[in-house]
Symmetry: C2
Subunit: 192 residues, 2 copies
DNA sequence: AAAATCTTATGATATATATCAATGGAATAT
DNA sequence: ATATTCCATTGATATATATCATAAGATTTT
């Protein structure tokens, strides 16, 4: 149940057994099924979720009523609407389960306790936030000023798992192109 | 010389006079003129810079040799290539002065000392990183799946100063459109 | 002050991508 | 098992944006 979390933490820092036990106890396991919502627009995000198994996707609904996929999240990743979590304002994003999930839920107060009590945990979390920042940054660079073909090519290099685990029209939305365009890009790509 | 920094820190946290003095001492003032480089592609970013006065812009050079503007930075903002700073790998970005600057340079080791010694400084810096993350996030949402007109409209709402302080072709690059398109968007916009 | 360079604006054309439409195949619900 | 809904593919067409070209203003350099 806590394998992935243990692994994720210990890839970056070392905790003593006691610290790890203390850490663990603050998480609450939760199973969720496809199409359920971890967070809905308008609610406030008061917890972080670590994904032991499964996947989710985050999306906004634009003025025209279209879903715009903001990001995906898989096994071993954290997921939350940090905008809402940090500021306490209502979420503008929805987080929906893509593949049945086993999550570890960490409430905000528990998280803040851990930050104070376990220096290693705090370091771990700072690194996670740094990485999230860097990933977003890379995403910006891959989203602006590239053709549809280039975007696809970069996605294949960087996140090939997206194409296997996520319906194609969601990937298209994530890349900022129509599903038809992504389909054509792919057929062009596979031909050559 | 340290007015903006003092203001920035005390907008978010409180430091005692002593802490503030200690903090200050780790920064080294530096003047830079338009077109000088704070960081060049290939170098490693080993410092953070706080902008007391002036502005800079960060850009990457793509395969076709075109500048792609990644971000701007103005008075009261921090600037660095965090990718390079965090990972220690060579920068893929250039940071160039746009308007003559007064900077406060903070070396990585000094920064890390301050994080350890002054809890308020650490909190301040965590908030800054959170805000940087949120700003990037917003940028993604404004970059993907919007028309040129919509991108412009959002920029006006959110960062009108860009249009007054930055040459238009750099703003165009930042928005991921050609300079001609931005010019046309603007003329359409001003007409109506 | 004049020359040179850079920046913006605007028109004409080309191109990439979106949209609309139809089909067959998958997944899901009955 | 059948019906229903959803999804990916492919073609035809429309549209937004890029590119090319030119000229008028700005800025910077000499």
């Amino acid at each position: 149940m806590f394998e992935q979390l243990y692994k994720s933490i210990h890839e970056h820092v070392s905790l003593s057994d006691e610290e790890w036990q203390q850490c663990k106890n603050n998480f609450r396991p939760k199973r969720m099924l496809k199409r359920q919502f971890l967070l809905q627009e308008g609610d406030t995000c008061r917890q972080l979720a670590f994904i032991e198994k499964g996947s989710l996707f985050t999306y906004a609904v634009d003025a025209g009523g279209n879903r715009r996929v903001v990001r995906f999240a898989f096994d071993g990743w954290w997921v939350a609407d940090l905008q809402s979590y940090f500021t306490g304002s209502p979420a503008m994003l929805n987080i929906e389960v893509l593949e049945d999930c086993e999550l570890l839920i960490l409430d905000k107060t528990n998280h803040e306790n851990l930050l104070l009590k376990i220096p290693g945990y705090e370091r771990y979390h700072r690194i996670i936030l740094q990485n999230a920042y860097l990933a977003l940054h890379e995403r910006i660079e891959n989203a602006i000023g590239l053709t549809a073909d280039e975007k696809y090519e970069r996605l294949i290099k960087r996140n090939p798992e997206f194409l296997h685990r996520v319906p194609q029209h969601l990937v298209a939305s994530y890349l900022g192109m129509s599903p038809e365009t992504l389909s054509r890009v792919r057929s062009r790509f596979n031909r050559s």
